[in-house]
């Protein structure tokens, strides 16, 4: 039996799609009593980690080679979010890859009804140089694991820049609780900090329906960031997080009026 055949046998035991469930816990909801968008993000990142583990490409395994996964882009389409103690199912698959990135999609449902869809783009970086690595060198089997495209759109590249005269809405220094196992700002904290900059009244008045996010540079412990926000038309806001004047993160958050005010 040739090497190729052996690998194919091994791959057959791996599942190209993966799903798991989460109960919406007390600390996963915001003042509305509904799952918060950053907690929904926690779930999809955790699901991605479990699937990667099953595929033999977990972050723990990459760490032994001084490598790790980082998310470079995120797209969210969000319906009505479930209430506390609901059970949420997250289903994921890899839907595409290039030399240095892979696209992973998610469908999130509750009692059979779709709650949200997401697509994410991932790189593998060297944790010493912090530079991307050719994906197919570390993970040659990825091409055999790609599912047909789910139709969930890829994140938009955001080219927004705050106008020259604008001042930051918030200045913030990255703290212990903001960083993750990769010792950089946790991806869902970028999103939380973006929502924080829009303020509580924004959350009370509006339902977040769509997010595009670009994770452009790592922010490390102690990093001093400035957050800029400007409306983009009547139903969207654009956020940029800068460190020393350099764009580290951008998001575009689209909303609808809430039907029931909080």
């Amino acid at each position: 039996m040739g090497k190729q055949k052996k690998r194919s046998n091994k791959l057959r035991t791996m599942s190209k799609t993966f799903s798991t469930q989460y109960r919406v816990m007390y600390h996963n909801v915001d003042l509305s009593g509904q799952l918060s968008v950053p907690s929904l993000g926690d779930y999809i990142l955790d699901t991605a980690g479990l699937h990667a583990t099953q595929l033999g490409i977990s972050m723990q395994h990459l760490a032994t080679m001084d490598m790790t996964w980082v998310m470079s882009g995120l797209h969210f389409e969000i319906g009505n979010l479930p209430m506390i103690n609901s059970t949420v199912e997250v289903r994921t698959q890899i839907s595409g890859c290039s030399k240095i990135s892979s696209k992973r999609d998610f469908i999130i449902s509750c009692n059979g009804d779709k709650v949200a869809e997401a697509s994410t783009e991932w790189l593998i970086i060297n944790t010493k140089t912090r530079r991307p690595i050719f994906l197919t060198e570390v993970f040659p089997q990825i091409e055999e694991l790609i599912m047909p495209d789910s139709g969930i759109p890829r994140y938009r590249h955001l080219r927004f820049r705050p106008s020259a005269e604008s001042t930051p809405i918030k200045n913030y220094t990255v703290e212990y609780s903001d960083i993750d196992i990769n010792t950089h700002l946790y991806s869902m904290r970028y999103l939380e900090m973006s929502l924080n900059s829009l303020g509580l009244q924004y959350i009370k008045d509006k339902r977040i329906s769509r997010i595009d996010a670009n994770f452009m540079q790592e922010v490390l412990y102690g990093g001093q960031v400035a957050i800029f926000a400007e409306p983009d038309g009547s139903n969207a806001d654009q956020i940029e997080m800068q460190e020393s004047g350099k764009a580290m993160f951008r998001a575009r958050i689209e909303t609808e009026p809430r039907t029931q005010l909080l």
Copy 2:
């Protein structure tokens, strides 16, 4: 069959002890790859909520009467915290009550080994007046649900005040992501903010072995707090969070040197 008998029958179907499990997820660990202390706190609060629901005294039920549970004190004894993807069991019981407060204890284990113990004190407040309510009026059956004392110590009342000349280590304005379904600063965020004020090197050098926390006043959205920290002997630090000069929260954090540096 008298009312008393009916109630006793109902109570027999309730469980005086309750346990549930949590898988340590990606966002539950800190840079060490181990469960963070605030995430351990998330677990025990969630377990308390599930047990209260089983006993018919959930926060959701109290909300229909303009009431809610609030935590007034916390004591933690912490061993070696489990790694990412471990499964943690949390077991809880009510161990005592007074006119306005109840004591709830927790034992946290992983693969049969004890990870931590905790005791908490809870009040029921009126959400309009924000004042405590006589517990036995809302929850007369509580006396029948109390288990023999577990021996887990009650939290210490902390009387630490920062010295007159000391300046805050951090000033912070409470944001959207800091508040919970009760629209006040989430109890574990007080703890996170305390650890943040001690800084990353503290976390790298030390293992947190014991915490006492006093939740004295609610902090609301937009609240501007100042955090003071001073050593208490060689292996403990005292934290006070103030708003407009008034003590809102105090914690005493006891540590041991880490055996394996991060």
